[in-house]
Symmetry: C2
Subunit: 498 residues, 2 copies
């Protein structure tokens, strides 16, 4: 084996669009997930875990913009040549789970789930093949109270994570309202041309943020050429048709009441459209009664949501503040989560409609935002105390000290390499150790031990370029009787925290 490996040595690399996650980020994510989980739990959702991959036909295909051959998902075949796919979200597996266990479940069924999902898409900045979602769903009720609740839950999550009120917005729309408008302009129904037009229309609306009203207007009509010269074919609507869509998208939004009034006019006589406006009104009212007014839950006709399975209310959690990143650039984070009602997803299996609604947080995106604003939750874990090995023949002495520290609940490790003192100090430094424990020959003879304080703040200061210099200059070193090791280390740690 060793010989063969030498001939074809593999390169240590990851596919583009995949990444390793460092200790700091892993810990930050864990803290964030715990905070979100506590809110989901508070609302009465229960955890569920489904496997990473499933039969492809059970997951279905509801991804937007499937320009790549594998249609947005990673797929492979099992022994019997049946196709399996990695999940692309947590909603499709939930629909399969509910259909499979329908009779046994208390309904409405309310579950939360977090975990990675995978998309076979072109990777880009901040766009990975694997990313984490954290969902809460209520399955088995058509009541918009369930949708309203998700809007409040999302608001609570963001606040729990340290995002102040006023710096985020749950934007809410209803697919039925758009359907009503499409009815009004005469492109509803099962005709395939109409279906394509509707898809193009909703994709166009989805780009309002990026392209503005002008750009969307072009995409509703013949099409639009972007700066690079690429041409995107439009929905081919007439001027009048496009006018109504634009009136819908740009409906007066100064207040929830004004949005509702505009939408009532625009949907005209469409029954579906009317229903949609009614539902939005109920959602706004239910949120309002618990104090989630339009400064937090805002009706907004421009919200579309890309996934193809939504059938009613849709919502998007948006961070509204701007911040500067490390390079000093202004960053807007935009959407950090969203969801909506998908009354047809379980029906795919069951034949009967099982109404459902859900909300999903894009964990990585939200975390990037939290990092930038410096919001943190939960307890931070300090680096371990490093017990140096001054004499390899007395390894067990170092081992014993490490054991004592751990037994006292102090995070500690013995230096496990085989290098000398200098390398050991460098190691402790690189690890960010708060202190090292030294029992050299002199200490050993005298029955003492030295604790060297490596004070984090100072060490990390960018002003100090020569580590040796500040270290030698620091008096933060104490020699105590060997029996007082734990106590002395605890004193150093407390002083640093102080």
């Amino acid at each position: 084996m060793a010989k063969r490996d030498k001939l074809v040595r593999p390169k240590a690399r990851l596919p583009k669009g995949l990444r390793d996650i460092s200790a700091d980020e892993t810990r930050a994510t864990a803290r964030m997930l715990a905070a979100i989980e506590s809110v989901y739990e508070l609302y009465g959702f229960e955890p569920l875990e489904t496997p990473a991959f499933e039969y492809t036909d059970a997951l279905g295909k509801f991804l937007p913009d499937q320009d790549r051959p594998n249609e947005g998902v990673f797929s492979f075949q099992d022994e019997d040549e049946q196709w399996l796919s990695l999940r692309y979200d947590l909603t499709a597996p939930l629909a399969r789970y509910v259909a499979q266990n329908y009779d046994a479940l208390a309904k409405p069924f309310r579950r939360y789930q977090f975990g990675p999902v995978w998309r076979n898409e072109k990777p880009g900045p901040g766009r990975y093949l694997q990313f984490m979602q954290f969902d809460a769903d209520t399955v088995g009720t058509a009541s918009v109270a369930a949708d309203a609740e998700l809007c409040m839950l999302a608001a609570d999550c963001l606040e729990k994570l340290g995002i102040p009120r006023g710096e985020y917005l749950m934007r809410v729309n209803n697919r039925k309202v758009l359907d009503g408008v499409l009815e009004e302009i005469g492109i509803s129904g099962e005709d395939e041309g109409f279906a394509l037009q509707r898809l193009t229309v909703s994709r166009a609306i989805d780009k309002l943020d990026r392209l503005g009203g002008e750009g969307v207007r072009l995409l509703l009509g013949t099409g639009r050429k972007d700066e690079s010269g690429d041409y995107t074919k439009g929905a081919g609507l007439t001027g009048n048709q496009a006018d109504l869509i634009m009136a819908f998208v740009e409906a007066e939004a100064s207040s929830n009441a004004s949005v509702l009034a505009s939408l009532r006019t625009i949907v005209g006589t469409s029954v579906t459209g009317g229903e949609g406006v009614d539902e939005l009104e109920q959602i706004a009212a239910l949120c309002e009664v618990s104090g989630y007014d339009e400064t937090r839950v805002k009706l907004d006709p421009s919200v579309v949501r890309g996934l193809g399975y939504y059938t009613g209310p849709v919502f998007e959690a948006e961070l509204t503040f701007e911040a500067r990143n490390d390079d000093g650039d202004i960053v807007r984070f935009g959407s950090v989560g969203g969801g909506g009602r998908y009354d047809g997803l379980v029906q795919r299996f069951k034949g009967v409609e099982v109404p459902a609604t859900g909300f999903s947080i894009g964990v990585s995106r939200l975390q990037t935002a939290l990092d930038v604003i410096g919001a943190t939750t939960g307890e931070h874990i300090s680096a371990p105390i490093v017990v140096l090995v001054m004499d390899r023949d007395r390894l067990s002495d170092s081992q014993q000290m490490t054991f004592e520290l751990r037994a006292a609940g102090i995070r500690a490790e013995m230096y496990l390499g085989t290098s000398g003192m200098k390398a050991q100090m460098k190691y402790a430094d690189k690890r960010g150790a708060p202190a090292v424990v030294i029992e050299g020959e002199d200490e050993h003879a005298a029955g003492t031990v030295t604790i060297k304080d490596l004070e984090k703040g100072l060490r990390m200061s960018e002003d100090i370029t020569d580590n040796e210099e500040w270290r030698s200059g620091r008096p933060a070193q104490v020699t105590v009787p060997r029996g007082s090791l734990v106590e002395a280390v605890r004193d150093v740690l407390n002083a640093q925290r102080g």
Copy 2:
């Protein structure tokens, strides 16, 4: 879409060998992971996350018994037809990570990681295509102090999880000792026939538990026919050769000292073998000094570990007690984790040897054991209070009560379905709700609210078959002023915890 779906309705099912994980198990796993994590952290390991799949060549192929065409892993191709595989353990990705980031890492590099891994194997009872591992590894040191530490860490984990001292054992062996024995019987070296013999020998030893000494002896010789009549070809050793192997495997094991003495004799003049025995001696001594004596860390020549990449000390965490499962059968859990030294794994990429050692807990297996002995850690979460909806026109009143409970930190949900009182009570019952909140017409008029205690213990008692009966007979119902809702619910919860 709706129309097409009706024609080909997918079946809601999971591939064999995959499973959904319920709320209770998900929570139990989370508690278990938190306990393990706290020990890994205490020992100074840092978290790392790597993606679920990687380039196939970067992961390498080190799985035992690769009888299936896909060679034990799930693989698929990317856009450029490069092969990708789902990780089959957490060690291979770690080796890739270390090789890729070698210069930037503090060495020894110490990380922990948990997460699912996938094996394309024939599923069976308790054997799934996806399962969870939780690893700690130290990379960049040849010191057996790192191996000794992992043995102590494993013991600490098991005790932290509620497994009493004396009911588990870390069994430790060293591949080098076996290599020494193989040298002694003359089948070392790069000859392909010898390599195959060595593989067959180590597989045979691995079956000692299951087949006993007799069975292993047959597999070392010409071969063995099992009860079903299936014949397994043996390693083809001569009688003398097999004798020495058996002497090794069955070395006197009454104490660590006696194992060491036997092994010294058996490895004879082999340098590798001698080294291996020295290392075992050091590991035992280092553990002993911190009180992890042979009742916890036991030298045992029959430990092999299946994975092909181990090069030195190998260890297995074994639960030694027997228990009865729900069916009254006696269950032995055996190995719930293991690991060892793999000095060649990073070398695959780097060309230079980067010594490393690691320990991996099989999460599901350990959890099954914990369930059976009833060991639990961490806090249990009670089911939510269910606020009933007595009048759909007063939905917002129910919403407001739910909000107030949540704002007070009480897990609560409004009934989100659209059914009547009876179905709502049934729902609360199925959810295991500790209580329901009722504000009917009378209560509403009087400015009061009723809290109905659904006392969990009683409700779950199997003696009571008629829920209506006990419920109607219970006095546990209290009507209080609407303003005292939160207080009253808290009283009910406290009384139940009482």
